[in-house]
């Protein structure tokens, strides 16, 4: 990853981490059970299945210049809650978009070629869930395995590659009933690759994503 790209991303990560830590401290301090000294009821592991859509904002400007500032992503995820506060999760994310090439250097003609881009990710990680009445604070970190393809529609240029990445997120859920929970989270991901072009010597497909979804509890 190039230093020039890394600087603003790192700042956002620190802000997000600090916010998360502050919220966590407040929640723990204000947890009803702890304040009343009441033992919680016995825990039974449960499974959550969720679907969500995300609004992705790429960390690298080169990606945004080709495909626009925000792209829609789809998430499907399963959470296995092993204790009241800890859960494991695994899921799938896909993002498909269309764009147009950028001109490098001084342009001679305003001529752009159409592009298609797709990244499909298998993700897994560890989460922390802190229930507060009908709300729940959720934190998560994990890794991803990503399959990437970029295709030029006018020329036989076609790049397909695989890349590993990492991500972290923070969000909250709201119980709609015994089985349903609506949730939202903000996520930061990094997906570095060794590939690039005249536009971007080393591409990182990470960025920020706001996610909104619905979970069904089993």
């Amino acid at each position: 990853m190039r230093t020039t790209e890394r600087t603003p991303v790192s700042r956002h990560v620190w802000v997000a981490a600090a916010t998360a830590a502050s919220l966590l401290t407040l929640m723990l301090a204000g947890a009803p059970g702890a304040r009343a000294g009441i033992d919680p009821s016995p825990f039974r592991p449960w499974l959550g299945l969720s679907a969500a859509s995300g609004a992705f904002y790429a960390g690298q400007g080169s990606f945004r210049s080709l495909y626009g500032d925000v792209q829609a992503a789809i998430h499907i995820q399963a959470d296995v809650h092993l204790s009241r506060k800890i859960f494991l999760f695994a899921g799938f994310r896909t993002l498909q978009t269309k764009g147009a090439t950028a001109v490098i250097g001084t342009g001679i003609a305003d001529e752009h070629y159409s592009l298609e881009f797709r990244v499909s990710s298998i993700r897994a990680g560890l989460g922390f869930r802190l229930p507060i009445r009908r709300f729940a604070l959720r934190l998560g970190v994990g890794g991803s395995f990503n399959s990437v393809r970029e295709r030029w529609l006018d020329f036989p240029e076609d790049e397909a590659l695989k890349a590993a990445g990492f991500f972290g997120n923070i969000g909250f859920g709201f119980e709609l009933g015994r089985r349903w929970e609506i949730f939202s989270r903000l996520e930061y991901a990094t997906i570095p690759t060794d590939s690039g072009s005249a536009l971007q010597s080393k591409v990182n497909l990470g960025g920020f994503e706001a996610v909104l979804g619905l979970m069904f509890k089993l």
Binding site: S62, F63, L66, G99, T101, A102, V103, I104, G105, T106, G107, I108, A109, E111, H112, Y113, L115, F117, E150, W152, D154, F155, E157, E159, L161, S195, G196, S197, A198, L199, Q200, V203
Partner: protein, 543 residues
């Protein structure tokens, strides 16, 4: 990451050190070592001479230490070069090398080429006449490159141009005009000056003779005077010009040196083979082409002071480069008359970037004036007037007999030892090649004003280049235009359009951004006849 950072710090420190004052060194840098030097440092190397396997480079103390510190190996040839006169000397045998050793300092460079100096003394004044020399100019700054890739870039299949009906009409007629007797008379005339040693008045008289000859052919002629040698002496190049019709800014040069030397240079240096023969071929080519019309300008040049170290051609080539003269190719002829038996082979010496010129010469010769030709790619062949053109990045070849002339640089190098049938066949090939390069003006007008610009379009993982071409519409009605492309300058053009283009513009998409492409265009008339190629342009002239 840490390692990369450390290397960068060392390189930056080295780059700073390079700018620091200190003594200079001449070094021999092998090309494979040059290729490994980071570009940031390599651009600071002052290349003085490229040879086949190495460079002669001038470096300051700081840069030399930096290169050593980074683990790059080189050989120091000499230190504190200021005030010394260095020469590249061809040492044909170990005995030659041994003979040099007692006359001054000698450092082997590359194959049969050595660096020689004897303080500030001119090589010609201390070396036996048998040595061919080239002055190494310390002020020259050539860009040091690594070894070039020899892998050709494949082009998609395209249609080669094969309509040459008009050239086939014109060039055989030109070739047929080559006169063996006139070639012989020219050589005899030059020999009759007794000596053409560049520092003598006889050489000046020979120059005047050549000036008058070219003028009598109706060509515009000029002297190009320059100083040479330690005295300094003054001598003159003779430059005759046949202006081009459609693209006069593009020049084809046919040249030879007219000065001579021998073991009695001040009084008797007939130089019949070396190089009245080459000069005669230039004169005869000028006689035949004068009065004909070609798309490109043809210059007929007789250089002086070649035997002193290529001073005349160095002066001409460096001034042409400084003025941005667009030289298509240089045909240099040096010793083309000694052939004990026939058939005899004409050797064509080229460097890697001039290979196309030898191929083009051979093709023209095969088509119009067949003779055995051998192409030899050797950047170390620095011993004649093509070499300063190589130094300036121009394409040039040297045509020279294949046999060793036992009368070389002797008072016995006379007309009676020559094979004029050999000279005549070579001159025919030279006329054919020069006419082919300059392109006889055709009734279908050649497009002019071709311009090319390119831009790179990029996605995340791929980039392509697009070239935008436009040219001036020809003044006469034509059916359209054809566009040709190649990745090797002046060779292997392939047509891009399937039918003639109505407008004088073309966009070539989907190109590799890392490759340089060259373009020419032609006009096509209503009967399907195609004009000559326009001047060639590079796709990235805007970059």
């Amino acid at each position: 990451m840490k390692k990369a950072f450390a290397v960068m710090v060392i390189i930056l420190a080295a780059a700073s050190a390079a700018a620091a004052p200190g003594g200079d060194h001449l070094i021999r840098l092998a090309k494979e070592d040059a290729a490994r030097i980071p570009a940031l440092l390599r651009t600071q190397l002052q290349g003085l001479q490229e040879l086949q396997a190495c460079w002669v480079v001038r470096v300051g103390d700081g840069l030399a230490q930096a290169l050593t510190g980074l683990g790059f190996s080189f050989e120091v040839l000499d230190s504190n070069p200021e005030g010394k006169a260095y020469f590249l000397v061809r040492t044909a045998s170990p005995a030659d090398a041994a003979a040099l050793a007692g006359l001054g300092e000698v450092r082997p460079l590359d194959g049969s080429t050595a660096l020689f100096w004897a303080g500030a003394t001119e090589a010609r004044e201390v070396l036996p006449e048998t040595f061919a020399v080239k002055r190494l100019h310390l002020g020259r700054r050539l860009q040091v490159r690594g070894r070039e890739s020899s892998v050709p870039i494949p082009l998609p299949a395209g249609r080669m141009r094969n309509e040459r009906a008009y050239a086939d009409d014109v060039i055989p007629d030109l070739v047929a005009q080559v006169s063996k007797s006139k070639l012989g008379l020219n050589i005899q005339d030059l020999q009759d000056f007794q000596t053409r040693y560049a520092s003598t008045t006889n050489c000046e008289s020979a120059g005047t003779y050549l000036f008058d000859y070219f003028q009598s052919q109706g060509l515009a002629v000029e002297y190009q005077s320059f100083a040479f040698g330690g005295k300094p002496y003054t001598t003159r190049n003779i430059v005759a010009t046949l202006p081009g019709h459609s693209s006069p800014e593009q020049e084809v040069i046919v040249c030879a040196h007219y000065d001579s030397t021998s073991n009695q240079p001040l009084t008797l240096a007939p130089g019949a083979d070396d190089n009245a023969s080459g000069t005669s071929a230039v004169m005869e080519t000028a006689r035949i082409l004068a009065g004909r019309s070609f798309d490109f300008t043809v210059r007929f040049i007789c250089f002086s002071a070649e035997e002193w170290g290529l001073y005349g051609s160095e002066d001409y080539a460096s001034k042409a480069a400084a003025a941005g003269v667009d030289i298509v190719g240089v045909l240099n002829l040096d010793m083309i008359a000694y052939a004990p038996t026939l058939p005899e082979t004409l050797d064509l010496y080229v460097n890697s970037t001039s290979g196309w010129l030898a191929d083009r010469f051979r093709t023209a010769a095969d088509r119009y004036a067949p003779l055995p030709v051998q192409k030899i790619v050797d950047a170390s062949a620095t011993w004649s007037d093509h070499s300063p053109f190589w130094d300036q990045g121009y394409s040039a070849l040297c045509g020279i007999e294949d046999s060793d002339n036992p009368y070389y640089h002797k008072t016995t190098d006379t007309f009676s030892t020559l094979n004029m049938d050999f000279t005549t066949s070579i001159t025919r090939a030279v006329v054919a090649a020069a006419a082919d390069l300059a392109q006889p003006t055709y009734s279908v007008p050649t497009p002019t004003g071709l311009r090319a610009q390119s831009q790179v379009s990029s996605s995340l993982f791929d980039s392509i280049k697009t070239a935008y071409l436009d040219w001036d519409a020809v003044s006469e009605p034509v059916a359209g235009y054809n566009v040709y492309r190649t990745t090797t300058s002046h060779a292997g053009y392939q047509k891009l359009n399937s039918s003639p283009l109505a407008d004088p513009s073309y966009v070539d998409r989907g190109l590799d951004p890392g490759t340089t492409y060259y373009y020419v265009v032609t006009a096509v008339d209503g009967e399907g006849r195609e004009s000559n190629f326009s001047q060639e342009v590079k796709d990235d002239e805007n970059n």
